[in-house]
C-alpha cells in the first residue's frame, strides 16, 4: 500500500490524536473504533489488515496496550514512504509517524494526569479527595473483574471455546493463590494456542 502525505496531512493526523487523547477514558483501546473510522474509512492512510494486525501485535508484545497506536503511526509512515522495500527513507517516515501519533495521544492526557494528581497528592487529607478515592475503590475493583470476564466472554461459542474459559479461570486461581511467574503462565498459554489445543 502506497500513499502520499502532505505536511498538512501530518498536521491533521497529529491533531486527530490530540483530540482523541482526552476521550480515552478506560485506556487508549477505547479510541480504536474512532481511529478505524479516521485512518481506514475516511483517509485510507491505513489498510484494514494493517489496522487489525497493529492491535493484535501490540497485544502479543510486551508493554502497555497503547503500543498499538505507535504501530499504526509506523504503518502510516511506512505507507507514505512506499513500504519497507523502499529502504531507510521509508523507515525514517515510519518513525516520524510513530512520533506524531504517540505524542498526539500522550501529551494532553499525561499533562492532565500530572497536574491533577500532583494537586490531589498535596490535598490528600481533604475530605473530598479521600471520599473520591474510597468511593471509587469498589467500582474500579469490579471493573477489573468485569474486564477479565469480558475478555474471556469474547468467545461466543461455548462448545468450541470452553478451553479458553478454562484456561482463563485456571490462570485467575493460580495468580490469586500462588506467586507463579506471570511470564511462565503467558508462555504456557502461547504454547497451548500454538499447538492448537485451545
Amino acid at each position: 500500500m502506497s500513499i502520499s502525505l502532505t505536511l498538512a496531512d501530518w498536521g491533521s493526523l497529529f491533531l486527530h490524536f490530540i483530540s482523541l487523547s482526552l476521550l480515552a477514558v478506560g485506556g487508549a483501546i477505547t479510541t480504536a473504533p474512532d481511529i478505524h473510522r479516521y485512518l481506514v474509512d475516511e483517509t485510507h492512510w491505513l489498510s484494514d489488515t494493517q489496522f487489525t494486525s497493529s492491535i493484535a501485535l501490540a497485544q502479543g508484545a510486551p508493554g502497555p496496550n497503547v503500543m498499538f497506536i505507535a504501530l499504526m503511526g509506523w504503518n502510516v509512515g511506512l505507507n507514505a514512504g512506499g513500504g519497507l522495500a523502499a529502504g531507510w527513507s521509508a523507515v525514517a517516515l515510519a518513525l516520524w509517524g510513530v512520533f506524531i501519533t504517540m505524542m498526539g495521544i500522550m501529551i494532553p492526557s499525561c499533562t492532565l494526569t500530572f497536574v491533577a494528581t500532583q494537586w490531589a497528592h498535596r490535598n490528600r487529607d481533604m475530605r473530598a479527595v479521600k471520599a473520591f478515592k474510597s468511593g471509587m475503590a469498589p467500582i474500579v475493583i469490579a471493573l477489573l473483574i468485569a474486564t477479565g470476564w469480558l475478555l474471556t466472554g469474547n468467545h461466543e461459542n461455548p462448545a468450541r471455546d470452553w478451553p479458553l474459559w478454562a484456561l482463563a479461570a485456571a490462570t485467575t486461581l493460580i495468580v490469586w493463590k500462588t506467586q507463579t511467574h506471570l511470564l511462565l503462565l503467558l508462555a504456557f498459554g502461547a504454547l497451548l494456542g500454538a499447538v492448537g489445543w485451545i
Binding site: G63, P64, G135
Partner: protein, 199 residues
C-alpha cells in the same frame, strides 16, 4: 493484606531510590507485561518492591482509571511525580514506553505477514485467555483493600456488584457507569467519613 497502619497513606515500606531506579523499574515492568501491564504492576510494586500498600494501589488505580489516557501510563506518572516531581514522572513514563516501543517496532518489521498465520493466531488466543485471567485475579486480590473502606463491607459489595452487572453483563458504556456510580459512591463515602470523624 499488608499490616501497615491504615489511617494515612504513605505507609509503604519502601520508595524508589532515584529517577534512574524509576526508569529501570518501569522498563522491567513494561517488558514483562504481555497483553497489558496491570498484573505485573500489582505483583512488582505492591508484593515485591513494596513502593505501595494494597490500599494505596487501589486508590491510585481508581484515579488512574478515571483520568483519560492509558491507565498504566497514568499510574507511572503518579508514582514518579509523587517521589521526584515532573522529572520523576517523565522518568517513569519513558521507562514504561521506550523499550516496548523499540521492541514492538522491531517485531513489526521482522514478522510482517507472520501475524496472520494459524500458529501466531493460536499463540495470541492462548495469551489472550491467560491475560484475561491475570486481570481478573488482580481484581480479586484488590478486594482485600476494601476491608479498610469507610463505607463498610456491605456498601462496597453492593457498589461492586452493580458495577460488574452494568459493565460485564449489560455492557453499558464505561463513561456512563463511571459518571453515575462514581459520584454517588463518592458522596456516600464522604457521608461515611463525616460520620466517622464526628464519632
Amino acid at each position: 493484606m499488608s499490616s501497615t497502619p491504615q489511617e494515612h497513606p504513605g505507609a509503604a515500606a519502601h520508595a524508589p531510590r532515584s529517577k534512574t531506579d524509576l526508569f529501570i523499574s518501569f522498563t522491567l515492568l513494561a517488558l514483562q507485561g504481555f497483553g497489558g501491564v496491570l498484573a505485573v504492576v500489582q505483583r512488582e510494586l505492591v508484593d515485591k518492591k513494596q513502593w505501595l500498600t494494597l490500599d494505596e494501589f487501589v486508590e491510585d488505580w481508581a484515579v488512574a482509571q478515571i483520568l483519560p489516557g492509558p491507565n498504566v501510563v497514568n499510574l507511572a506518572l503518579m508514582i514518579g511525580g509523587r517521589h521526584f516531581g515532573l522529572l520523576g514522572a517523565l522518568s517513569a513514563l519513558s521507562g514504561l514506553l521506550l523499550a516496548p516501543t523499540i521492541l514492538v517496532l522491531l517485531l513489526a518489521a521482522a514478522v510482517a505477514g507472520v501475524a496472520e498465520t494459524a500458529v501466531a493466531q493460536g499463540m495470541l488466543r492462548g495469551m489472550g485467555a491467560v491475560s484475561a485471567g491475570l486481570i481478573a485475579a488482580v481484581g480479586i486480590k484488590l478486594m482485600g483493600a476494601l476491608k479498610n473502606n469507610p463505607m463498610g463491607r456491605l456498601s462496597c459489595i453492593g457498589i461492586a456488584a452493580l458495577t460488574f452487572v452494568a459493565i460485564g453483563l449489560l455492557r453499558l458504556p464505561l463513561a456512563w457507569v463511571l459518571l453515575t456510580l462514581g459520584p454517588l459512591s463518592s458522596v456516600w463515602a464522604a457521608h461515611c467519613l463525616k460520620q466517622r470523624g464526628a464519632a
